[in-house]
């Protein structure tokens, strides 16, 4: 709170207070994407939002399940996503069903 107030003051007095002109700050709007309810959605929310927002999933074209399986495998292999083996199928099934071509 105190820091925030200080920042507002600094912004208002830009140029006045020493150092204020040196600070450039922005606040990002929060991610607003929400996944459709369905079997497995909790697992997807839990693991697929660790590194990026879930719109990484919802803005993709509609892919078949096999493609999503490979994509989840890429997250694990290439980026080290901490996803247990047994969750891979749940995740791919969910995404293919709600954001892919189904099968």
């Amino acid at each position: 709170m105190r820091i925030r107030l200080l920042f507002i003051l600094m912004t208002i007095c830009a140029g006045g207070a020493a150092g204020a002109a040196d600070l450039h700050r922005i606040t990002l709007p929060p991610p607003t994407v929400s996944l459709k309810e369905g079997a497995g959605v909790y697992v997807v929310r839990r693991y697929c939002s660790i590194c990026h927002s879930l719109d990484y999933i919802t803005t993709q074209p509609k892919f078949p399940k096999a493609k999503w399986q490979a994509e989840v495998a890429k997250m694990i292999k290439v980026y080290g996503a901490p996803i247990p083996e047994e969750s891979v199928k749940v995740i791919s099934d969910y995404i293919a069903a709600y954001y892919g071509t189904g099968s």
């Binding site: 450039h24 990002l28 709007p29 991610p31 803005t59 993709q60 290439v78 954001y99």
Partner: protein, 396 residues
């Protein structure tokens, strides 16, 4: 964009896929799983939201009616969610280290004491147009708005490297910015240029876009500018330059941002290339901007079509337009020439007499004869999109 008393929610405009498409031009072959909408990020205008963390925002085509893309409208593309949201110039430094005689740690003021240079150059994401790929590919589903034409000012990378004194045997310069991986297992974003390339006259460390400081989301306080090459090299919020004795092997060069090692950078749609190389120079492109694809026109009323054309650093020699699906091509008039890295605006008068649907195509040729393919080229990562676009104008 920071209007007192107005919350971000007031800016939120929920538009469905079709509206967003209409706002940006061409219909992609597949529909997205989710919807797109315009959203306002700090220091930016309403842009099409691809992803929120990290932010990826696309410029609606209407902004390309102008020769210069406003800072607020330029697209945003970060890779890793830990992006810088504050920079304090009192502590910020650009460091140069590695195979150099004198390691440097420069403040922004130090940097501004080098000779200032300025030019206009197109910046374009390697994946611009990816959403038109058929079969579709994973990655940011950009329409054609991951590009812009900006006047950059800053200092020559070469001058800064010279001050540091490059040691004999050095091979590359590795560039890193203030963004960080969300987990330690994710490779940090870094790119490199071979020393020869890095020392070309025009490679710039830019501290101004269109005469103003960079928006944080576009790389404040300084970003690398590699005119003619895709934006993946234009490292944002540049903070670290390492002169290295051997070629850089980082993930974002070795595994990502690669194209098939074929003459067209393409392979049979859906197939896997035998060998890949890093993507570098932009292909030649031209687009119809106004009236937009799908617009309705009045029969008998004259209208001037306009758009933009650019190429990877060789300037545009000619733009031709066909209003009958590629049967006849006629030269378009070219607008002001801001140099070989800028885009050029083209104009073409049209007076459609008969009602009906007109298939309008545009084709550019650059000064070394490079042009655009009739059919789409395909590669697995969705790069180099530059086919001759098919636009429909409906005359009533």
């Amino acid at each position: 964009m920071h209007l007192p008393g107005i919350t971000r929610r007031d800016f939120l405009k929920a538009v469905g896929v079709t509206t967003a498409m209409a706002a940006t031009g061409t219909l992609p072959p597949v529909l997205y799983a989710g919807e797109r909408r315009l959203e306002t990020y700090p220091e930016k205008a309403d842009l099409l939201l691809l992803t929120a963390r990290p932010p990826q925002l696309e410029t609606p085509l209407k902004y390309f009616k102008e020769l210069i893309t406003p800072n607020e409208a330029l697209f945003v593309r970060w890779h890793l969610a830990n992006i810088p949201t504050s920079v304090d110039l009192a502590t910020w430094r650009l460091v140069v280290h590695g195979e150099v005689e004198n390691a440097l740690s420069l403040t922004l003021d130090d940097l501004k004491r080098f000779e200032k240079i300025e030019y206009t150059a197109v910046i374009q994401c390697a994946g611009n147009g990816r959403s038109f790929f058929d079969p579709p590919v994973f990655g940011g589903q950009w329409l054609n708005g991951a590009m812009g034409n900006v006047t950059w000012s800053g200092v020559r990378l070469r001058d800064v490297l010279k001050r540091a004194g490059i040691k004999a045997g050095a091979q590359e310069v590795i560039f890193k910015g203030l963004d960080n991986p969300p987990l330690p297992t994710v490779p940090g974003f870094a790119k490199s240029l071979a020393l020869d390339k890095a020392q070309e006259d025009e490679i710039m460390i830019a501290y101004e876009m269109n005469g103003r400081e960079l928006p944080l989301l576009n790389g404040y306080p300084v970003r690398l500018v590699v005119p003619g090459w895709y934006a993946t090299y234009w490292v944002k919020s540049l903070s670290d330059m390492e002169v290295a004795a051997r070629p850089f092997e980082g993930f974002w060069k070795k595994s990502a941002y690669r194209i098939p090692d074929t003459a067209c950078g393409c392979v049979e749609p859906g197939s896997t290339p035998a060998k890949t190389v890093p993507i570098t120079r932009m292909t030649t492109r031209s687009l119809l901007i106004n009236p937009q694809d799908g617009s309705r026109l009045k029969a008998g009323r004259p209208i001037e079509l306009m758009g933009v054309a650019f190429s990877g650093g060789y300037g545009i020699k000619e733009v031709s337009v066909s209003v009958n699906g590629g049967q006849d091509w006629r030269p378009a008039r070219l607008g002001k020439d801001l140099g070989r890295h800028s885009w050029v605006q083209w104009y073409y008068p049209m007076k459609p007499q008969k009602a009906g649907s007109y298939d309008v195509r545009v084709r550019a040729v650059n000064s070394i004869g490079e042009s655009q393919p009739l059919d789409s080229l395909w590669n697995p990562a969705g790069y180099l999109w530059n086919k001759i676009e098919r636009n429909t104008l409906i005359v009533v």
